[in-house]
């Protein structure tokens, strides 16, 4: 399936899903689904740099928060509507990724990982001290009264937007995966030195991959302030985003665009379920244990199992 057809199909499916699910009467579905979709975007974004290129980014929360806070900023400054916030947030996050990449991608992958963690801390402190976006007190974003497309409540709109953004993220991931760029990234992942020697412009590709990955993470965060009406630094920068964005691709499978999708839907739904049934301390325990189990026993994730099973079945 060519990229264009895939894009059309995915977007159509997304919009159709958005329309059909409007019929579900209880709002809880939309709330839970929004959160799962958020993780779909984050996991897919992370995997572009993590699974495709082999560089671990611990600062997913930072880029997520950049997306969220950019939305808050344009809301405060220009009373701009959501679409403006989305575009702005994605761009700023992408630029931040570019900056981080430029500074640290000349070094070993491990330094990039640590730098991404450091960036998250510095950014957190910066936001905490920046009163214009609320600082430590948090910022309020009031959901507009008028809801377009005749949808009953704001959560329905936000959910639909998130669905479309998830589709976009998947399309981007698949396009990269099947392109020359993707092959270059895979070469970097497998053996960077060899790739460099074969003429792959590793630095350029890495920086580009980082930029796209971080931009998408920011995109995931842009609707967050609207979802909650309130955002404050410690929850925006929650390490749960960093852990989940790593665990989900790992569990789903890092080699293709389907892995993060599967991992996010599975793990995200389990977490949502646990949140309203058992005590939530177990929630984190589940993520941690699954992460460790999968990483030691099933390094290629669920997609890896599927592939192995397919191979065993024969041609």
């Amino acid at each position: 399936m060519s990229n264009k057809i895939f894009a059309v199909v995915t977007l159509t499916v997304a919009i159709a899903l958005a329309a059909v699910t409007q019929l579900i009467p209880n709002e809880y579905f939309f709330s839970a689904a929004y959160t799962v979709l958020l993780f779909v975007i984050l996991a897919t974004a992370w995997n572009i740099l993590g699974g495709y290129t082999g560089y671990v980014n611990f600062g997913s929360a930072a880029f997520f928060a950049i997306g969220a806070y950019t939305t808050v900023f344009v809301y405060n400054a220009f009373k701009a509507p959501l679409p403006v916030g989305i575009v702005a947030g994605t761009l700023v996050a992408g630029l931040a990724g570019l900056g981080l990449g430029y500074l640290t991608l000349r070094l070993r992958g491990v330094f990039f990982a640590i730098a991404s963690l450091a960036l998250a801390v510095v950014l957190y402190i910066f936001i905490v001290n920046w009163d214009y976006v609320g600082g430590a007190r948090g910022a309020y974003v009031i959901q507009p009264r008028e809801i377009p497309f005749g949808l009953p409540r704001y959560i329905h709109l936000i959910y639909a937007v998130q669905l479309v953004m998830a589709a976009i993220a998947l399309v981007v991931a698949r396009t990269i995966e099947r392109s020359t760029l993707g092959r270059g990234l895979a070469a970097i992942r497998d053996d960077e030195l060899a790739a460099e020697c074969s003429g792959v412009p590793t630095l350029k590709l890495k920086i580009f991959s980082t930029m796209v990955s971080c931009a998408l993470m920011g995109m995931a965060g842009t609707t967050f302030p609207y979802y909650l009406s309130y955002i404050e630094p410690s929850s925006a920068f929650s390490l749960s985003y960093a852990v989940n964005s790593i665990a989900m691709p790992l569990i789903g499978g890092m080699m293709s665009w389907m892995g993060p999708l599967i991992g996010a839907v599975l793990l995200g739904s389990v977490q949502q379920l646990v949140q309203v049934t058992v005590s939530s301390a177990w929630n984190l325990l589940i993520v941690g244990v699954l992460l460790v189990l999968f990483v030691t026993l099933a390094p290629n994730g669920i997609m890896g199992w599927v592939d192995a099973w397919r191979r065993r079945k024969g041609p």
């Binding site: 671990v56 330094f111 640590i114 450091a118 402190i125 941690g288 992460l291 460790v292 990483v295 030691t296």
Partner: protein, 291 residues
């Protein structure tokens, strides 16, 4: 603000004392990451574990937490060995250590934190020590024992580790394993065993550092995450694989935080530390004393 010499002197003292404590927390990473190339991002989890063990014994029996931690360090040593074994079998042997090893330790970090929450809850825990509220004052300069005692023991520990690494056969084997594993094998030493014991040592130091932490400040399970960045910052700043570099990095960071706190506002102190880290990574990634 009147800037008296006493203010400056106190900022320097506080920075150095804090730096000593940071060094104790980071020396383990210097070994595991700097020399063995194992990105043990779960290191702070073991520090917190050490804090809690010190807390339990101190709460129940009243023994001094640092004494407890030193007594319990063989357990941490064993834990380190087991952990390394798993890491080696699952990742290093397969050549998958960069991504998956990282994820593995991340998972360990979380499991430890959540387990502590389930057992102890999220309330802050503190220990009571005989010297906790004592402060020596010498002509306008204060030396709170709460910081001095951990500082002194930490110095003993760090210098002890350095001596071990440079003066004993085994220690030099560790340094060698960092440089050339093949050569080591050719000399009849099993590099895996060496790495296992070195990693165990790093975890043992984490346990002891945990006791320092809980003497200095109240502890709850989630604060481990706050120290991940700091611990790695110290090592990178000082130079990977060099214990003295770690010590230097720790002092630099401690002083930077102390001065920023005192003169510019405590809000920016962590930013300064991490800004230093980012700058180091950008311009001199090998750190101050690195190879």
């Amino acid at each position: 603000m009147e800037v008296s010499w006493a203010l400056v002197a106190n900022a320097v003292i506080a920075g150095l004392l804090l730096g000593g404590f940071y060094a104790a927390m980071s020396v383990g990473i210097s070994i595991s990451f700097g020399m063995l190339d194992v990105v043990n991002i779960a290191h702070p989890a073991f520090i917190i574990l050490g804090s809690y063990i010190a807390y339990i014994v101190n709460d129940r029996f009243g023994f001094d937490p640092i004494v407890v931690a030193v007594a319990v360090s063989p357990l941490f040593f064993l834990l380190g060995m087991v952990l390394y074994r798993i890491y080696y079998v699952c990742f290093e042997r397969r050549g998958q250590e960069s991504l998956r090893g990282l994820a593995f330790f991340f998972g360990i970090l979380f499991i430890t934190e959540v387990a502590l929450v389930l057992i102890f809850g999220v309330d802050y825990r503190m220990v009571s020590t005989r010297y906790g509220d004592v402060t020596w004052r010498a002509g306008g300069v204060d030396f709170p024992m709460r910081l001095v005692v951990p500082f002194l023991v930490s110095m003993v520990m760090v210098i002890g580790v350095q001596l071990f690494l440079t003066r004993t056969f085994f220690g030099r084997a560790v340094l060698a394993v960092a440089q050339d594993q093949l050569a080591l094998r050719l000399m009849g030493v099993n590099p895996v065993r060496v790495k296992e014991l070195a990693f165990a040592l790093s975890i043992a130091t984490a346990g002891v550092a945990g006791a320092f932490l809980i003497v200095i400040q109240p502890v709850q399970p989630a604060i481990g995450r706050e120290f991940i960045g700091l611990v790695f910052a110290v090592c990178v700043l000082g130079g990977m694989g060099s214990i003295l570099g770690t010590l230097l990095g720790a002092f630099v960071l401690g002083l930077a935080e102390s001065f920023t706190s005192t003169f510019f506002g405590p809000s920016w102190a962590p930013a300064v530390s991490f800004g230093l880290l980012l700058a180091t990574l950008a311009f001199r990634p090998s750190g101050i004393l690195g190879r």
